[in-house]
Amino acid sequence: MTAVVAPAAAEPRRPARRAGVLDWLVTTDHKHIGILYMATTLGFFLVAGAIALVMRAQLAQPGLHIVERQAYNQLFTLHGTAMIFLVIAPFALGLANYLLPLHIGAADLAFPRMNALTYWLLLAGGLTIFSGLLLSTGAAAAGWTMYAPLSDFENTPGPGVDLWIMGVLMISASSIMTAINFLTTVMLFRAPGMTMMRLPVFVWNIIVTSLIILMAFPPLAVAMAELFIDRRLGGHFFDASHGGSAILYQHVFWFFGHPEVYVMILPYFGVVTQVVSTFSRRPVFGYLGMVLASFAIAGLSMGVWAHHMFTTGAVNNPFFSIMSFLIAVPTGIKYFNWIGTMWQGALVFPTAMLFAIGFMLNFLLGGVTGVMVASPPLDYHVEDTYFLVTHFHYTLAGGSMFALLAALYFWFPKITGRLLSERLGMLSFWLTFVGYNITFIPLFLVGLLGMPRRVVTYLPLPGWPELNLTSTAGAGVLALGIALTMWNLVVSWSRGAPAGDDPWGGGTLEWATSSPPPERNFHALPPIRSDRPAFDMRMPQGTPGGQARARAG
């Protein structure tokens, strides 16, 4: 309940008090909320990952061995829903919750209490979706896309779908509020000298992500409301037998659904940019181009939704095809920015950097296969096969998930004041990276052979059982890698080596405060003259003026 006064000078450092359970319930401190977000989303990640393992086990060989048909349908729906709505996107928002004020030298987010509300709504939404498992009719089982009319009352009467709708509504309200909070904070609460063109790239990407959320989530809320009205209140929005349209649902859903994939990737682009720049000891190459590319992605992403509907025969395929192709250009620019950042740098490879490089290698396959599925004739073959499943896993799992792990290794020392074990980290990286590719490369192939997605089993056609078995084996290796990182987190939380304020030689402002940061984030701020104020402070010879002076001297 305190008006915050900027610190007059370096104050003596006080160790933070340990928080009890009740403190976590009522906290509105962005760092605590960020930790809650990240811990909760990691919890959902473990659940969704365990579900993925069960699915892979079921698919290891043809036949029904592990789960029955309807159980499998619930499993892939929960896995997809959780990974998208409860893991990859909200982890990024939680990370930004923690980092954004630190990055811009602010004491907190603009609306701390609204911020707390977004977290509790997210948690409530997630639990609501999963609570369907307790019903005798089971949780929603119509895929994370919840296509009408399959999801209407006639075809899916159980309340699992209703719970799913309400959960997603809560999550979308939460995301919209978070976006407003982020935008307001960046506009109004930057530290003196932190002009817009000195914002770290991560912050720019959060700005663009927030903008996308504001454009995309209201239509999602509309789709969910219409679905609910159809199911419970006698509406016919999507019911063709009463003048409604099944295609309408797809339009409204994908108007949200495609931009959502950029909500799930742009923050992670920011993470990778920051990590690569730090461990190359180079400034971000092509800063302005990178920012403009993010805006270009945001704009174009609003005009490509129906590339998910190429095979309906009811949309203008060439329009959506060219728009989708064009997105490849700003995405490609990011790659050249990263390469330009590493170019002539002095690279070191701690675990965070390895995961960032793993991101680049994996996401590239997601990108080039993305160009393939953006071509309608090719999509006629691969849409809704395992090729498509594998394409988006290369962007979201091979991409975002790897960047998520990079972020954990990079910022864990700041958040806890302790280092993660690098040895465990390296081992975890190699298991995850190799396991990931063994899991998914066979799925590209089996997809090209025509194996559909969302099937509980498959025919023993030539090659199919072998490829699926390889994939399942890979998933085991991958799971081991992830488990090692989780173990690392748990053990290092209390027993890791002390990290110090700046273990990596970081550039952004959070490395100029203590680990963990004090209650209002900063005891004193360094002068801000670039997007790397902490680096400038430590290495004045690295700043533009400094370098000239060094050469002259």
């Binding site: 095979t311 309906t312 025969g313 009811a314 790659y335 006629y380 081992l427 190699w430 490369i441 099937v455």
Partner: protein, 259 residues
């Protein structure tokens, strides 16, 4: 750190020593991974798609190869060797313009090819040789041959086997009675959604006789997995004889025993 057991430490050392070798290996695997095991395209339309696929695959391999090369070059060449500060430049405008313009060119090229192919694949003949009305329902298919009185009906346990002639233009008129399904024949590299309330038309010209597996690929509920069918493509004369056997409802009698 003491908490690591010894094997973890040793593995960590090995990992670091051979850091870039597996990286290269996996990148190579990733590339060869997509090497196109497309099922042989059994229709004229599918052949065009296969050609387009080949161009896309080579372009993708080229782009990915170049970018992987640059990344690996950085990893190998720009390892930190001393404590000196590397150059701190931030921009190189000509390079930035180039890496924006070249992708635009590539993308324009690919779109032009896409457009040309799509026009051919989507073209419907003014007067097809054979028309088949296909209706998807939960969870099987109904093939109706208008004007002949012949209907082929299936169930999840007994998927339908529909006759089609080789070398003639077959018009499929597709719809659904309940939820969204999709009509997909991997060997034709082609699918189309069956949406309730919409009627879709497309043409297939089959090049060789054979039995082609068809699948529903839009998730449609409980028995989606078993919503399969077969197209039996036969020479035109044999097809005509089959039609001439007169009006009837053909049910599949052989239970397909696979899962």
């Amino acid at each position: 750190m003491r908490m690591d057991p010894g094997w973890v430490r040793r593995a960590g050392v090995v990992c670091r020593r051979y850091a870039s070798a597996p990286l290269l290996a996996v990148a190579g695997l990733g590339l060869s991974g997509c090497a196109s095991p497309l099922p042989g395209a059994a229709t004229v339309q599918g052949q065009r798609i296969a050609h387009l696929w080949a161009v896309f695959f080579l372009s993708a391999a080229g782009v990915a190869g170049a970018v992987y090369g640059l990344i690996l070059w950085c990893i190998v060449r720009y390892r930190r060797r001393s404590d000196g500060l590397p150059p701190q430049y931030r921009d190189n405008i000509p390079v930035e313009i180039m890496y924006t313009a070249v992708p635009v060119g590539i993308v324009a090229f690919l779109f032009a090819l896409t457009y040309g192919t799509e026009i051919h694949v989507d073209r419907v003949a003014p007067r097809p040789d054979v028309t088949i009305n296909v209706t998807a329902f939960k969870w099987s298919w109904l093939f109706d041959y208008p004007g002949t009185g012949i209907t082929v009906a299936g169930t999840p346990d007994y998927p339908p086997i529909a006759m089609v002639p080789v070398g003639r233009t077959v018009r499929i008129v597709l719809t659904s009675t309940d939820v969204v399904h999709a009509f997909y024949i991997p060997s034709f590299l082609y699918k189309r959604d069956a949406t309730p309330g919409l009627v879709q038309r497309f043409d297939l010209e089959i090049r060789r006789p054979g039995e082609y597996l068809g699948e529903c690929v839009e998730f449609c509920g409980f028995d989606h997995t078993r919503m399969r069918f077969w197209l039996r493509a036969v020479p035109p004369a044999q097809f005509d004889r089959w039609i001439e056997q007169g009006p009837r409802v053909v049910h599949q009698r052989v239970r397909y025993t696979a899962p």
